[in-house]
């Protein structure tokens, strides 16, 4: 092989790797293949897939019903320590991987079912914040002027409060409960999405294809929602992924304080909060729900970091 053809072969593979020549892959497939090449993205994706699997099949995986009180069913005591057979627990006793909770229920089954609750919490709060945040941010960035002024000053005011504090205050007015807690978290995280969308829309709307659309007589609505927004989504996707992590943490915090999910719902923060005074006698009831929260949050954080690197190398901050 001549030096020239070798060089051109190298050149073409180099370009092909970037997806510019040959069969052009859709942008999202490029992004996914790049994400799979990033360590934090790989780990995050695996964690989240496992959690999704647990959430979907919690009923089948969990050895007990999360609400089933085991008094009279088995010989177990309230807040009994974990009994794992392979770790030397007496085989004659029933196996409880994470022990028994304060109401004589299987902690492991409750933690598994908690996955479903926490993922739902993360996804719903972020979706709500995302829909309204992106809408306000897009309008603000696209139209500018006094619309921009009013929306952004309002967002500044919300950001003027420490987020969890404002969420607590909103719950104080609306009353404790999971729905109000989710609403409160959506409200306090909304400005982040609005700000990022606005900045992204501001840069995209100056591009040539937007001008072309305008020249062709497209309506504002068409340009904004079909031309500008789809091309401004990259930073929003990253923020939303990281936002799921924060939303789960904040919701767990509110539930821990008794302001969010109420017992007997198997929510990790609630489970942890209702047994916090037993930390000295039954630490397993605090330890396991906390680990579950940590793994879930870690998964979304890692995926978010990976997405950031995969989608936009310029945003690489960690």
């Amino acid at each position: 092989m001549s030096a020239l053809s070798r060089a051109s072969a190298q050149y073409s593979t180099k370009i092909d790797n970037e997806g510019l020549l040959g069969d052009p892959k859709p942008m999202w497939r490029q992004a996914i293949s790049r994400l799979l090449g990033i360590r934090s993205g790989q780990i995050g994706l695996v964690i989240i897939l496992v959690l999704l699997f647990i959430a979907a099949f919690a009923d089948l995986i969990a050895p007990y019903n999360p609400q089933q009180v085991l008094i009279g069913v088995e010989q177990v005591k309230k807040r009994e320590a974990p009994c794992v057979h392979i770790l030397g627990c007496d085989v004659s006793k029933p196996q409880h991987l994470m022990g028994i909770d304060g109401n004589v229920r299987d902690e492991f089954s409750r933690v598994l079912h908690g996955t479903r609750v926490s993922l739902t919490i993360g996804l719903t709060t972020v979706s709500a914040a995302l829909i309204f945040g992106v809408f306000f941010g897009a309008i603000s960035g696209y139209f500018g002027g006094w619309v921009d002024m009013i929306i952004m000053r309002l967002m500044d005011v919300i950001l003027g409060f420490p987020s969890l504090l404002l969420a607590i205050a909103i719950v104080a007015v609306l009353g404790p409960g999971i729905q109000n807690a989710l609403l409160a978290i959506s409200i306090v995280t909304l400005p982040q999405y609005a700000r990022v969308t606005r900045a992204s829309v501001l840069s995209v709307k100056e591009l040539d294809f937007v001008a072309a659309s305008k020249v062709m007589g497209a309506s504002h609505r068409h340009i904004l929602f079909f031309r500008v927004l789809p091309n401004a989504m990259t930073p929003i996707v990253v923020l939303a992924t990281l936002g799921i992590a924060t939303a789960i943490l904040d919701a767990a915090g509110l539930s821990f304080l008794g302001l969010g999910a109420q017992p007997p719902m198997p929510e990790w923060g609630t489970m942890l909060g209702s047994e916090r005074n037993q930390i000295f006698s039954a630490p397993h009831l605090v330890f396991f729900p906390g680990i579950a929260i940590m793994i879930t949050v870690l998964g979304f954080n890692l995926l978010g970091d990976g997405l950031r690197d995969a989608l936009d190398p310029r945003l690489n901050h960690s």
Binding site: S40, R153, L154, D156, V157, I158, G160, F161, P162, S163, L164, L165, L166, I168, A169, I170, V171, A172, V173, P176, A245, L249, A252, G253, F256, L257, G258, L259, G269, L272, G273, R276, I279, F280, P283, V286, F287, P289, G290, I293, M294, I295, V297, L298, N301, L302, N316, H317, S318
Partner: protein
Amino acid sequence: MLGYAVRRLLIAIPVLFGILIVTFVMARSIPGDPCKAMLGEKASAATCEAFTQRFGFDQPITTQLGIYMSDVLRGDFGNSIRFSRPVTQILIERFPMTIELALLALIVATVAGVTLGIIAARKHNSAADVTTMIGANIGVSMPVFWLGLMLAYIFGVTLKGTFLWLPPSGRLSAGISSIPFYEVWGWQLAAESGWSKLLEFFSNMYIFNALITFNWPVFWDAVRHMLLPVIALATIPMSVIARMTRSSLLDVLGRDYVRTARAKGLLETDVVRKHALGNAMLPVVTILGLQLGALLSGAVLTESVFGLAGVGRLLVEAIFARDYPIIQGVTVTIAVAYVVINLLVDLSYSYLDPRIRQQ
């Protein structure tokens, strides 16, 4: 610099007013009779009549807002339902604890975070770097209340009897009390004056108070009680700061002027210390302001875990007692403090980075 400071101040003022309007709207959104909400269920018809007059509930909403704003600006949040005492007085007793906790956590987080970040960046891709970054990733993912409880369990229970034992709750051990510095120094104070309130405020920071009165037993006891809450609260900001310092320093170490400094034959320590670090710290200063918000939010949870009588725990207890004047007072005070702190951070940032001022 002055021009920038004035401009930045002008941005902060509408935000402060916005905060007052938001809290006003929230207070008016409380379901039920406002008089019963603010004065408690046992309020009589006569007191309710006086209450309506005082806060202008029979007036247009704008007048009510005006009354509310002038009250807040004078530091008058009404009386707590649960304690039957002025909210401001309760805040003077409770707020210093939260400030002390948040400040100590901020100091620990900054010092430890910056140090870890520098180590990780200097030894890029080494075992130390990878360990620090894995640790930082786990650190930002931990719920602060869980970490607090686990620390209380490890240091308060399993290490009981060893010298590593630390008290898992409270501010001072039984039998030890903090004597305000003005009493130690024998100052005669006029009760109910603004000056004496200010002194009382500072004396309620036990560690600070013990330090300036050279009361070492109290100082040591207060520090020991504060260690676990501070570690719990500092972990998340520390991880964020470590990650930020590392990426920022790595970025700066790749710049041309660092290469020049190395080419001059400077020691690597001098390159980092004199040329890279100053520039690498700028993004870290910006996130400090954001981290303070996280610290104030986290303080609410930390105080609940460690049974500390700060404003965070006060707020949570007030929600369950439906003590709305307290909720309002705490929310407004923390939000205003947060805005002022962010203002200071921005000003110090512009002082450190002249490029910001010229924008």
